[in-house]
Amino acid sequence: MKITRRDAVAMGIGATAMAVLPMRAMAAIDELVNDFTGGADIGTGDISLDAPEIAENGNTVPIGVSAPGAEEVILFAPGNPTPPVATFKFGPAAGEQAASTRIRLAKTQDVLAIARMADGSFIQTTATVKVTIGGCGG
């Protein structure tokens, strides 16, 4: 069967798109996580995310993170065009290793929080937030 150039290009783009799209999203967040952890294993532990189950307005979703004993906590919104949200470093004068803020979520997703503990280990938790109106200007 003769494959025209047009067909070949279409097939090529189709194939690449299929392979790259979901993989790219996964790879992007994995890379960001690795940047933070240096490739170390991440366990579970005393870290919690306080987030609404349903966020009516994706432009301002209240979110709290708490990780007693953590030195640094990073927050990701994997479903956003740019997943990193914030990194909290807690110092000697912190009363608790916890903080609350308001964030933008583009769509329903699992917000991810990873904490680096004082002993160098990492723990994480996620919270599913359903978003009715996306908040990233799109």
């Binding site: 740019t82 909290f88 903080a99 803020t101």
Partner: protein, 109 residues
């Protein structure tokens, strides 16, 4: 300097030694994500507050690196342990190089 940027903090004026107090901070800022387009279809460049720090008497309470996913008028609530009389210093760093500051004295007694 981004215009109309105004920091506001809510911090206790006094505390007992070692008490853990709640601090609330707000700063009015558009937090332009860099993902929006204007009427002509040009991307509006990113312009956000990228860092917020709070210290008490020179000791770090919290140091937050902020990304475009933080909402407009960034709000942070966190806790600090007050060991001695002194001052809370709050600093916000803008992408455009501006630095906004606020301070709140606290007395231990």
């Amino acid at each position: 300097m981004a215009s109309g940027v105004k920091p506001r903090v809510k911090a206790p004026k006094s505390a007992s030694a070692g008490e853990v107090v709640t601090l609330k901070t707000l700063i009015s800022h558009k937090m332009e994500t860099g993902l929006r387009k204007d009427g002509d279809g040009n991307v509006i460049p990113r312009s956000i507050i990228n860092r917020f720090t709070c210290e008490l008497n020179g000791n770090m309470v919290v140091d937050v690196t902020m990304e475009p996913a933080i909402s407009v008028n960034p709000y942070f609530e966190f806790k600090a342990k007050v060991d001695a009389t002194g001052e809370f210093k709050f600093t916000w760093y803008d992408d455009d190089g501006s630095v906004y500051e606020a301070a709140s004295p606290v007395t231990v007694g």
